[in-house]
């Protein structure tokens, strides 16, 4: 599905011995392309899948049934107790030895989704728990089931509570996707590494990469504020 980058010709487009500005000019588009083609899709897909996993995990953890709670607790503990890089390597380099070879990009999606899922499930669980018991009871008293109350009454309120911490996770994920460079995904940072290796202009290229990450995260934080304002309309000020 994804054409891999080792034989990528990005390297060739950046001339050796170029001046600083020329270097930035020439390396800019390959890096932005890496962001648009890989960093951003990887973040969006992984975060969406991660949220779905997180919601399921949170509800399992809040359930009365031990059989549902136990796997959720183990999953969260295992993910939080191991480095993300190790998780990435297990999926990409480890799985083939049990007969499951996965391409770099889907490998990264799997690892990042599972990682986000564990952390975000704790955020969602805490935000569900923060909604007063009276809200559940009010839902029940108009005839709702557990599920309907969760969906119509609790989650809309919990989502407001969880937006700031989830936004933090989202922004962390943008930056963490740079680790995917180590399993050969041609995202922003891998592009930077390739150009730097060829031109030896480590400072310029890596600062340029840093600025690009910063811009993406900055735009996201603006989006976060807009979302918070929208959800704040029912909150007393």
């Amino acid at each position: 599905m994804v054409k891999m980058s080792l034989q990528n010709n990005v390297l060739l487009t950046v001339a050796e011995g170029a001046t600083g500005w020329e270097l930035i000019e020439k390396s800019f588009w390959p890096m932005v392309e890496g962001a648009i083609k890989f960093t951003i899709p990887l973040t969006l897909i992984s975060f969406t899948l991660g949220l779905i996993i997180a919601l399921i995990t949170a509800v399992m953890r809040l359930s009365n049934s031990k059989i549902l709670r136990a796997p959720a607790i183990i999953y969260v503990s295992a993910i939080r107790g191991t480095p993300l890089l190790v998780q990435l390597f297990i999926v990409f380099y480890g799985m083939p030895s049990i007969g499951l070879t996965i391409d770099p990009f889907p490998s990264a999606v799997i690892a990042f989704s599972l990682n986000v899922g564990a952390y975000a499930s704790e955020i969602i669980r805490a935000s569900i728990s923060s909604i007063p018991k009276g809200q559940w009871e009010a839902g029940y008293s108009v005839g709702m089931t557990y599920r309907t109350t969760l969906r119509r009454i609790i989650l809309p309120q919990a989502s407001r509570v969880s937006i700031p911490p989830l936004s933090n996770s989202f922004i962390s994920l943008v930056k963490d996707t740079s680790l995917a460079s180590l399993i050969l995904v041609a995202e922003l940072f891998r592009r930077a590494q390739e150009i730097a290796a060829r031109t030896y202009e480590f400072m310029i290229i890596y600062v340029e990469a840093a600025v690009l990450y910063w811009v993406v995260c900055f735009l996201l934080s603006i989006g976060q504020e807009a979302l918070e304002r929208r959800l704040d309309r029912y909150i007393a000020k």
């Binding site: 108009v142 005839g143 709702m144 407001r160 029912y234 909150i235």
Partner: protein, 248 residues
């Protein structure tokens, strides 16, 4: 008779909160429950609304629906029980993310799946009835306590329950807001709703109740018409309690 309650008991772990409650609720009547703090009044209402599952006892409704809590009750039966009554909470418990009218329409639209148009028309009428037609698009935090409680009442009415439950509906309110809420409840009583209300408003209880129940320590100590229980109680504990709330 709408509902007959026999030998109702409820424990939390080792704590017996309700012990052998027997009472009948006639259709179209108002039953007032009084009693000291911790006597189990809220727990009794919560059992009726299936917010708590009784440990023992039998509920029999006039339509033949009967629950015997000696046996494990399945979820569907609990849901059926819950849907027979509407609850008005002491602390209102409105949905803060929904406007006044959305609070009222939520149950009928989502649970009963009635048509939006019909439900909104009904909700408008209900909000008019409780004197809040001009507040229908405000969020709960924009309403006073008394207004919130009246939205709570409209919300409970909208699901058209057989039984309306009120748990100290005015005790969280400033004194000057109590009257509006009580007068709404009075109107409901006159319209023929079946009501079970926990309240310490003695004068109000005199006026609207068909039956007054005095509870203490998880038991019904005394029950009967208000002239009897409120004006001429035969039990010591009832007398003492009434004296205490009438001359604080």
């Amino acid at each position: 008779m709408l509902l007959s309650i026999k030998r109702l008991a409820k424990s939390f772990d080792d704590l017996e909160v309700l012990k052998d409650i027997n009472m009948d609720i006639e259709k179209g009547t108002v039953v007032t429950i009084m009693g000291p703090s911790g006597s189990g009044k809220t727990t009794l209402l919560r059992c009726l609304n299936a917010l708590e599952e009784p440990t023992n006892g039998v509920f029999s409704f006039d339509d033949g629906f009967t629950l015997d809590f000696q046996h494990k009750i399945n979820k569907n039966d609990l849901l059926t029980l819950r849907r027979k009554s509407g609850m008005v909470f002491q602390s209102y418990n409105l949905f803060p993310h929904k406007t006044a009218i959305e609070n009222v329409t939520e149950g009928p639209i989502i649970v009963q799946r009635r048509s939006k148009e019909e439900v909104y028309e009904q909700a408008n009428n209900l909000l008019k009835k409780v004197g809040l037609e001009d507040k229908k698009d405000l969020y709960p935090h924009q309403l006073s306590g008394g207004q919130q409680q009246r939205v709570g009442i409209a919300r409970a009415l909208a699901i058209e329950p057989d039984l309306l439950l009120f748990d100290e509906p005015t005790s969280a309110l400033d004194p000057e807001l109590v009257g509006d809420v009580l007068s709404v409840i009075k109107d409901l009583a006159n319209e023929g709703w079946t009501i079970v209300i926990v309240t310490h408003e003695v004068q109000f209880a005199q006026q609207v109740s068909d039956q007054v129940i005095f509870m203490d320590g998880g038991y019904i100590v005394e029950q009967g018409p208000p002239e009897k229980v409120l004006q001429n109680p035969s039990e010591n504990r009832t007398q003492q309690f009434l004296q205490r709330i009438l001359n604080p």
